[in-house]
Symmetry: C2
């Protein structure tokens, strides 16, 4: 790596909290050495976010850092795992110190808020892209998977839907106010880590809504060998969505919009009230939006063949 | 992800051996769930290889898959860690099924040869790049680090040097025979995992030679707070290097060429013979090339300011 890029890499060094986080050796050796907690399973996932595919290349650098980590942490949330460590691979076209400082600030702030320690990474030259590997822990046998849904259970979703699609629409319409509620949903999604932990013993299956509600519900149904009957009028809509998109597009954004990073779960009816109470303590709603059935497929919505959001580029993936 | 890319992703699914490798849940859920071995530390590292920066974009796809994994595994080797799992993030400009099948074959073959299980990954669209996160295990307190070198110890290197630079030169000269020894060194480097394990109790410090001998020796010396006196005429040269590069460039390739992925270690003199015996059992040489000193810097070579190889592009990183 050139010295120019080495300087850049210093922005990505782990903080002094690393020792306390079960990390005996971090950036600066060939590997980081981590101390997994006995009795837990290690949940691992990687997601790469590519400029102008998964996010606008000219978005504020701090939001690109936040968002790339949030997308990966959302997978830990969906497993009911406690976030512990991450590794980041940053590819960027030039060594722009100010940009990287801002990027790193957004990344580190979410690390701190989520209790995650950056354990290593690399910086390479190329088209702007951020790959984030996350590692979390979950007690043996307690992970939330996609395959546990059973007919008769309630389908529920945390928070609100359509914010990702609505925020993207606002960005594309020229909105740049970082405090705009919808834009914030798109650029700075909050991974539902606390909700995932709270739902561990109550939910029977979980997935995060990244590709769009219908698409991700479809993944969950296939993995569980079940079907679903949705109640579209029950879908919780992100604040400001009707004003931003108009009545005609709201339902499509909630059903097929991606990048919401809410948790979609199934749970026995009797677990709904206690689950709501736990999430209310986190300031988060849990809304029942349908039932698990034994008929394959998703009933209750028009089948126009479109499932899954097409991301920023209007193309996939 | 588009269905086109989902098809592609199937080439990267883990094999049936996954269950046996301490992996209770792999590709197909939000995270893979791994079972770390009690009493061990988890060694983790990530490296991203970008087309035409770290490897020629038109290299055979199987070698790109092999090489991206090898580069990351080399970091585990340098820690004395046993390779266990990996995650792969593949970014590619188009969904070319045949290319990905070949790429995956090279990747999976090295997984099998190294005892590594692919635990997850993603496929995204963009400029060709491969990010590989590796996870290995090492008994607590037995990891080889960069910081353990002590004055008076022997500096030694596994295998031979200059093969990376020599192979790249042959590629650039038009050589395309996959059995060409030097080209093979460049395109299909062999991570020294067995050597790392064998040297665990014998070496006091280790690093892999990725940036070039001088650069990596410099990293090790800084981390250990020591200096080094090299004996350049002792450097083991890759087979065919003189014929490929000519006398004038051979020493530069061995000292400053990168991508050799040999292990550079320091060890007490009394450990040299037993270390050689263990590596001989693996068919690998261990050559003494200098001494650790208490004078900062690397003595024994002309200081022309150039340290570290400039990778494929002739530019960095």
């Amino acid at each position: 790596m050139s010295s120019e890029f080495e300087l850049i890499a210093r922005h990505l060094a782990p903080g002094p909290a690393a020792d306390a986080a079960g990390m005996s050796l971090g950036v600066g050796d060939d590997c980081a050495l981590l101390a997994p907690t006995p009795g837990t399973r290690l949940a691992v996932s990687v997601d790469t976010s590519v400029a102008d595919v998964h996010f606008p290349a000219d978005a504020p650098a701090s939001t690109i850092g936040h968002r790339a980590l949030a997308v990966s942490l959302s997978d830990l949330a969906a497993m009911g795992a406690e976030a512990r460590w991450c590794l980041m691979s940053l590819t960027l076209p030039e060594a722009d110190d100010a940009w990287v400082a801002d990027f790193a600030a957004g990344f580190h702030a979410l690390c701190d808020a989520s209790g995650v320690t950056l354990a290593g990474g690399d910086v390479t030259r190329g088209e702007l892209a951020v790959g984030v590997t996350v590692m979390g822990e979950v007690p043996e046998g307690e992970a939330l998977t996609r395959s546990g849904a059973r007919p008769g259970e309630v389908i529920a979703v945390t928070g609100a839907l359509g914010g990702g699609a609505g925020g993207l629409a606002r960005w594309q319409a020229g909105e740049r106010d970082p405090d705009d509620a919808l834009l914030r949903r798109y650029l700075r999604p909050e991974p539902r880590l606390a909700a995932g932990l709270a739902l561990r013993e109550l939910a029977s299956a979980a997935i995060d809504v990244s590709d769009g509600l219908l698409a991700d519900l479809g993944h969950l149904c296939v993995a569980s060998g079940v079907g679903a009957a949705l109640t579209p009028e029950a879908l919780p809509l992100a604040e400001g969505l009707v004003a931003a998109l108009g009545d005609d597009d709201v339902m499509d954004a909630a059903l097929r919009g991606g990048d919401d990073y809410e948790l979609l779960v199934t749970l026995p009816e009797a677990h709904l009230a206690p689950a709501r109470a736990r999430l209310a303590a986190e300031g988060l709603a849990l809304t029942a939006i349908g039932r698990v059935t034994d008929i394959p497929g998703v009933a209750g919505v028009a089948d126009d063949g479109a499932t899954g959001w097409q991301h920023f580029s209007g193309d996939t993936p």
